[in-house]
Symmetry: C2
């Protein structure tokens, strides 16, 4: 699926990751790149521009391209992570905090850390058109849509086919968003007390799903460009009886990592051979910043072992609560779990979404927002660079709108509390794992325009952060 | 709340229940009734008409009013039930059957037994008006409605106040229908393996909720006019550690019973004193056939021990999935459970319903459908009388559209299977308890017009039933 220039850009980035090119090194000229990699000069120019856009290289006037000293993608963290052992399985402890923050989001607080798309990036007119259609055809919205409305099933099956996942309309079960899909999938394939493997730092909703289902979490380290560590997972399933594994394959929350096709294949095979169901969360999959839409992990699933979960909460509207599951070989237990939980998902929502997918120019809209999120993310990274300590590390997501910020020596929960007093919300690191392993990290979101308000918010967060650190160091000295 | 004539009618019915007037007895004349009960002749005439409408008395030309030989309301069952012990607590076993039937409903099968309101009785125009409003105000539908959209909370708090339940808007948590409300409430106040008391025969969704939550069920007998047996429940909570109790107080599914205010109070007090949360399902509460809307059990709750669950699935549309919980003293755990399960309920649905409650003439619509369901139910009872064996017993619901039919010596699961071959769905008794205690009973629904198709369906079910019984007796002889 990769174009030639992206392929070259990725190859070069890989060389940087491996330390073949290090911070400050000069890259070969485009002419040399073209020669070495057997591509046209145009392709080499495009590849270099991609690296530039990714913030991995800097241009020095009349000198060429140099590997940026900030080309982190969490390299240092990665080195630490690699040495980290896989955690012992442990029950997810109640995280009252998370819920407090959910309520907070709805208030008058500036949501600098919340992963909710801003209205400006939702297809308002297309939604209105589809709502009008649903109003005229109101009778279609009245009955139970279980396991899903046929028109929704068809629209989803067509969409999945375009992503390389072949399924029949009957395979589609409608859910109340991705979160419900994850909870239902987990409950269907596990018993309370079972162990579930996840990559950390993890989307907090995954930890919440494990908590409500009474499951134990086994935290697997994340490779900063490849995603969940296959070695870590292999080790884990040898040591413990793992009942399921949840993975975000594309533009993960919070680290913004997309697994390579090879990595996806390896993961699918490892779990299929171990007969452990793989629950895929693909909610950011449609939000790549460049190139083609990455394949779902499910596209590599030959044994129906992958349970695919997704929704339109990041693309059409969070308030719709329109999600779905492809249950693979677990169709019977998953559809029962759904039915017994709440019978069916809103038919009105399903009818609106099915019409929008059919008529509403979903792809056209996605091209617009991908562009916006990419540019917002870059702007947000620059803002953080300008207002945070110089050793701050910032992820460069390859899709979506989330960045993960690490300030060595800091306490993000304390920062969260100080920000709250200023009516600003950031998502502190401790939400992203069951142990407080990420207390020097926090999440920010570029899901809204990087306007004056956002600039002020980042300035304020940076000021508070710097203040805390200098206070700490003065106490130490 | 009762009018004079209803009060008299109820008094007379009570006398029949107690055997003061027995089948075939002549009632006092209206003049005598007026004199004895100190009411006007007009009131006495009205009361007699109520009893006539309830099918409890027959008019014989020029002779007066006689107690009907069919004035059952399950008296015989009741006598048996009274002698039945409370069951041992036992885990709800997987009921694959239920789900099969859910799927069945959506197919080309005639839904003679399904408790789903027919489109004819839903307020289509009001829904369209509110959907149009939501379309114009689409931005209100985009964000998460957690714990509920403020406009929905306000509309529900106002509606609850009109039913004698005082709550603040903030107390309202939106759910995806009543089923989700029940499941969330159960999961919030119990641990897997806990014991939950319910009245049987029970709404199958309650058994499903217990099953998904991994709970044990303790089945309490139902008094045929009072609802859950207080003595049975008292005995049960002395014997076993009961963690919660689920009750339908008004127009229960399947027996159509409304608990008296005194019974509701006694139940609330019993459970409050035992510190056992009472989960109330009031989904049929708005569908009384005559008189005032009966009070929710929650109206008698002085200690915030009642968790109130309801939805508009029987009144506005099942496909909306618009329900709510008033969590009482369990607000924290219930709202967390909701959030972790699926974050929020559809904002679009909430906005539409809030507008409809505000502007859509909900009460006006309810007056129309109550009248229809009452008349349909009576017609359906007459049809069953005409086509079933003479010893068949039929409940007379005081609200809603469900009747419960008992054919002594029959096998309703076999009848269900034979009906299925004729593309007719009835709900067999075994769905309504964890043990197969109701295999001689089944549920029918008057939620659609009693037209030629319904008549044909009842004729067919009756023919199959009579055929099975005569086959059985010929085998015995």
């Amino acid at each position: 699926m990769e174009t030639l220039y992206l392929s070259l850009a990725n190859k070069l980035e890989d060389l940087m990751q491996k330390g073949v090119f290090q911070a400050g090194d000069r890259l070969p000229s485009v002419r040399n790149l073209s020669h070495q990699h057997n591509v046209s000069v145009t392709t080499a120019v495009k590849a270099v521009r991609v690296l530039e856009n990714r913030g991995l290289i800097d241009v020095r006037e009349r000198s060429g391209h140099f590997v940026s000293p900030r080309n982190s993608r969490f390299q240092s963290t990665f080195e630490q992570e690699r040495e980290k052992p896989v955690s012992q399985p442990n029950l997810v402890t109640p995280m009252e905090l998370t819920q407090d923050m959910a309520v907070l989001n709805l208030g008058q607080v500036f949501p600098a850390g919340s992963a909710i798309p801003c209205d400006d990036y939702l297809p308002i007119r297309a939604l209105q058109k589809s709502m009008k259609w649903a109003t005229r055809n109101v009778r279609k919205t009245l009955d139970y849509g279980y396991p899903a409305k046929p028109e929704f099933q068809k629209a989803i099956a067509q969409r999945m086919a375009s992503l390389g996942v072949i399924c029949g309309p009957d395979d589609v079960i409608a859910t109340n968003g991705t979160q419900e899909a994850l909870v239902i999938a987990l409950r269907a394939v596990t018993q309370p007390g079972d162990i579930v493997a996840i990559a950390v730092p993890a989307y907090p909703g995954i930890l919440q799903a494990l908590q409500v289902a009474g499951l134990k979490v086994l935290e697997i380290p994340t490779h900063p460009s490849e995603g969940i560590s296959i070695e870590g997972l292999k080790f884990a399933i040898q040591q413990w009886p793992v009942s399921a594994c949840i993975v975000i394959g594309n533009h993960s929350n919070p680290m913004g990592i997309t697994m390579s096709d090879a990595h996806k294949k390896a993961l699918v095979e490892l779990l299929a051979n171990a007969h452990i169901p793989l629950i895929e969360d693909d909610v950011y999959g449609d939000l790549q910043h460049e190139g083609d839409r990455p394949a779902p992990i499910k596209a590599f699933d030959k044994t129906d072992n992958v349970i695919y979960c997704n929704s339109f909460s990041k693309t059409l509207s969070p308030g719709l609560r329109s999600g779905w599951i492809l249950p693979g070989r677990f169709a019977r237990v998953i559809s029962t779990e759904k039915y017994f939980n709440n019978l069916a998902s809103s038919s009105m929502t399903q009818v609106v979404v099915a019409h929008l997918l059919r008529e509403g120019g979903y792809e056209h809209h996605m091209r617009f927002v991908r562009h916006r999120y990419r540019s917002n993310t870059e702007q947000l990274r620059n803002l953080v660079r300008s207002h945070f300590p110089s050793d701050t590390e910032i992820t460069r997501p390859d899709g979506g709108f989330i960045i993960w910020v690490k300030v060595p020596g800091s306490d993000s929960f304390e920062l969260f509390k100080q920000c709250e007093r200023e009516n600003i919300y950031i998502a502190p690191g401790r939400l992203f794992a069951s142990a407080n392993n990420y207390d020097d990290c926090f999440r920010l979101s570029a899901s809204r325009p990087i306007d004056g308000r956002m600039e002020d918010a980042i300035k304020t967060i940076g000021r508070l952060q710097v203040g805390m650190l200098s206070h700490d160091s003065s106490e130490v000295s």
